[in-house]
Amino acid sequence: MESAGMKIVIDDRPVEVEEGTTILQAAKQAGLHIPHLCFHPAFVPEGSCRICLVEIEGLPKLELACATAVRDGMKISTQSPRVREARRGVLEFLMADHPLDCPICDKAGECKLQDYYQEYGLFEGAFKEAKEKRDKIIKIAEKLILDRERCILCTRCVRFLSEITKTQELGVFRRGIHSEISTYEDAPVQNNYSGNLVDLCPVGAITDTEFRFKTRTWFLAQSESICPLCSRGCNIYVDYHPGFTRIPGTAKIYRIRARENLEVNGRWICDFGRYGFPSLEKDRGDKILWKKEGRDTIMSWEKILSLLAEKLRPRHRTKNTSNIAVVANTWMTNEELFLFKKIFKDDLGLKKIFFADPRPGSGDGFLLQAERTPNARAAKEMGLELNPVNLDDLSKNTDVLIIFGPFLADLHDPSSLKNDLDKIRTKVLVSSHRSGLESYVDFILPASGILEKTGSLTNRDGLVQKFSAVCPPCGDSRPEWSVLIELAKELRINAGYYSRLTQPEVILKEMGKEIAFFR
């Protein structure tokens, strides 16, 4: 950078940038925002919207910041009256045929056009002519709806489909004022990344049916998280509505968006992850239950944990733990897997440790992985063997069984599951979702969903990514890490050690000390 450094001045701010940088990027480095609609960092600049105009000293005309590379000694002004006037003009043309849809437009609140109008526009429309009428509800994909009136023809969508997915389902058709975005001969957009078009479109021209009309963007609290649906570990935003006080069931997650992380997922996420979130919120278990003589009794955490500890403690004391079996899963966070290993493998010395994970699907060669669980790598790094559940081994000579997660139900057919589980006296289920396993066990402990807990996940490439809770735990549920710690305390094994581990961060630090991988 130093060698080929180019010294330029943007709005009296001197910056030094590499050769070949565009003015827009240079301004970004200098901490200035130049408005842009068609430019997107992932694509080659196109220069169609012309809102990024800036003034360069010595040049008679305004230039496009997104497409002009800097030259040494350039003096650029991004806010001069001429520039502002030009942007106003550009906006007025963009708006000339733009509908007044903001009240029903799902982009409103995060729409670039609205933002720039607030900043540079604020004009009374000078066009007295009626606005052009265009098709407003065009289904361009299974979940995508195009509104041609709102489209500003920035072609971001077209470029995404030709440069990133290379499927090229959309194009600009016809000329001049009649130009429009369209699919080829009604062949819909069909790829696993179509949802990104919604994020990408700077206005509300492309909306998805999952989010369409459900709520307004400004109600949503946006939190950073990690997608748990495959081992890629894509970075996401989770948009959560805290709910209306008097209306039950209004607190919920409304959408998932891609979060930029060039190391993992670039700027995109797949549709499998984006539209997979309803399954995370559906069928949640929220009550602590003890099926005492066939009747469901609602319990408190303190009571049920001490009850469980009573069952495990004598076996631990007599070092007779061979008839305890546990089933884990790799949806558990690093911290939880670590605690799991500590308690069941190291402290109790169990031999029968199994893993029940969702069945693998197929990858798509880009982001989506075949492995549909977010944390298998961590289990391997910890030295846990991912033994699949073998029902015979599981039930033979087993007195106490603890199952973490709901996935076991999908892996075996119900009748053999019931047959084998019936042989075991005490069965405990720690699960965030209802799966059918409830009917076979005696203790049901609700666990928090992955978006309700704080912790870290290790993706397939070994990258440890921290995330924090998006929403409060559902009902009485608690994250597994806290259940595990409380259980360890009740068992009175290594009390000093576990009572120190109060937060996921502390646990992660402790892991770093013990396992080099997590350092």
Binding site: P103, D135, I247
Partner: protein, 157 residues
């Protein structure tokens, strides 16, 4: 001492004022009792449920939702009223209308009057002039909370 006497005088003056009010008002009350009509009345009270004052034209009373010509609600469920409402008493759920000119209409529209503070912000915020507070209805008390929850049907009436 002199000061206290001054206070004393003021005390007497004060009670003379109340006594004057008493005597004057009593006079008019008595005249009325004997059926003599006077321009002035003994009391300024309005006997509310029997006597009613005309509401000012900008008075904010019970909300109503306006209708389009085809009797569909004018509301496009933009939720701006939900956003602006300081008491968080409006709840709107949107649904898709097949008509591309309408697109969005409220499938649920609830105003919880037990929370409403009658600020009128919802009316100000509405971009469609779909909600107004001009029904003139002010006797809104109910004996159950449920009756204070106004839904789409009640609001469109």
């Amino acid at each position: 001492m002199i000061r206290s006497l001054g206070y004393f005088w003021e005390l007497i003056k004060g009670s003379l004022i109340t006594a004057r009010h008493f005597v004057v008002n009593m006079w008019f009350h008595t005249l009325k009792l004997f059926g003599i009509k006077t321009k002035r009345r003994g009391a300024v009270t309005i006997q509310y449920p029997e006597q009613k004052k005309a509401l000012a034209s900008r008075h904010r009373s019970l909300q109503r939702l306006l209708k389009r010509q085809d009797l569909k609600p004018r509301c496009v469920s933009c939720m701006l009223c939900v956003t602006v409402c300081p008491s968080e008493c409006i709840y709107v759920e949107a649904a898709e209308d097949p008509d591309p000119d309408i697109q969005k209409y409220p499938s649920t529209f609830i105003i919880d009057l037990s929370r409403c503070c009658f600020c009128g912000f919802c009316v100000e915020a509405c971009p469609e002039d779909a909600i107004r507070m001009d029904t003139g209805k002010i006797d809104l008390a109910q004996s159950t909370r449920q009756d204070l929850i106004y839904d789409l049907d009640k609001l469109l009436k």
